[in-house]
Amino acid sequence: MELYFFLFFAIVAVASSVAMILQRNPIYCVLLLIMVMISIAGLYLMLDAQFVAIIQIVVYAGAIMVLFLFVIMLLNLSREEGGVFRIQKPLAVLLATLLFLPVAAMIMSYAGGGSTPPAAGGDAGFGEVEQIGTLLFTKYLLPVEIAAVLLLIAIVGAVVLTRKGTVSVGE
């Protein structure tokens, strides 16, 4: 049962990411990327990580991709023009191969039967909100605070950049 679900989500994720790269219409690219996000959320769900799965949908599929879609619709981007990506293509192939090597090495090490990946849902309450919250506010408190400050700076920066001319008081 679990295998079938895994195969379903994995095939959907891989197929839609390939289709996204081959697709020339930006709106379809956005939709396919959303499908990738949702199938990855399904994979998280199978690892008993309910919280991460839902956050994946809320943040990526629900917020970030809506902004992508919004911008594409607003600028009315049609098909992408050819010839823009000349150096990028061979570079992308090279980088992708380099990135794939460590992944392949890891897969090979598991295939050899050397060590097995940790089983999901080992201890009770694994991946639940309570555990993640406790970890975030005890062990990883400093990174969380730093990330929060960074995000705040980014928001203030965006507001400053979009505000043209002098700031009028009482607007």
Partner: protein
Amino acid sequence: MVVDPMILEGAIALVKIGILLGVVFTTVAYLTFMERRVSALIQDRLGPNRVGPMGLLQPLADGIKFMWKEEFIPASADRKLFAIAPALILVPALLIFAVIPVGGEVTIPAFTLFGLQIQETTTTLQIIDLNVGILYILGMTSIAVYGIALGGWSANNKFTLLGGIRSSAQMISYELSLGLSIVGILMLTGSLQMSKIVAAQDGFLDWFIFRQPLAFVIFVIAAFAENNRLPFDLVECEQELVGGYHTEYSSMRFSMFMISEYASMVAASALMATLFFGGWHMPFEDQVGPGLVTLYQVAGFLLKTGFFLFVYIWVRWSLPRFRYDQLMAIGWKVLLPLALLNVVVTGIWMLV
């Protein structure tokens, strides 16, 4: 033959999903009828009263009419997206109902059906009690934007595109207040699970409306904006945009947009009842006989949901529409700070 418990569990889940979908679709059909009758009442008219006794068969006649209408697709539309956009908005609206608890535990007595022995089982009147129930609901409402945005874009019409863009901006803005208004409840409950939120309100004075009144006001306003209902229906503002994102739609595809609008209204009303008005908990529960308690609770829950549906209609026919800049100002400058204030006040109250 004794039925395997796992298969039995699956079968019970399927039956629950079937009943829930039936109830939701019937409610949606009669909600359109109720909207027309209540609007007529408010405007001192009669409303539809010809089909069947008191016009009660009107939704059926509407449905048949929709099915026989011509399915029109504009020549310059993106045919694929135009076809799937109505489904993209209907599915998330229906998925929300999966985590809403309608009642407490029910025991099904053992019985025999077609030679199959079915053991005594206990089940809750909720399809799935997710550990992250509230986040799941927020996730589904955030996905619902795509149907409207794509429906507006794919028709290749300026008015529909404007409607789609307005909706995505509006829904993103009000999602923040919607999510933040619930945080107070989550702090008091200490869980994101719907069943635990309901369990925290078992006494009448424990209902979150008494403990989180400001959150309730913010939640209701944000929910109205999320559902694109008046006074926030700039997405389909007739005077400026013809019909908004669904201008070019006809036949059953148009009716799917209507169904999903009303289905998300039902979901939002059920959420208001669940989060703030005790869910299926009712006052004087212990005085009702043991056989009738579940019935009393479910009826109470449906009654609360029905009341909020009436409020939706009541508001629509009483208030005028906001201007778009006013809409954004209310969302960002009033509701969001108030929701943050509510979180801070709740935190202080919990500490003291």
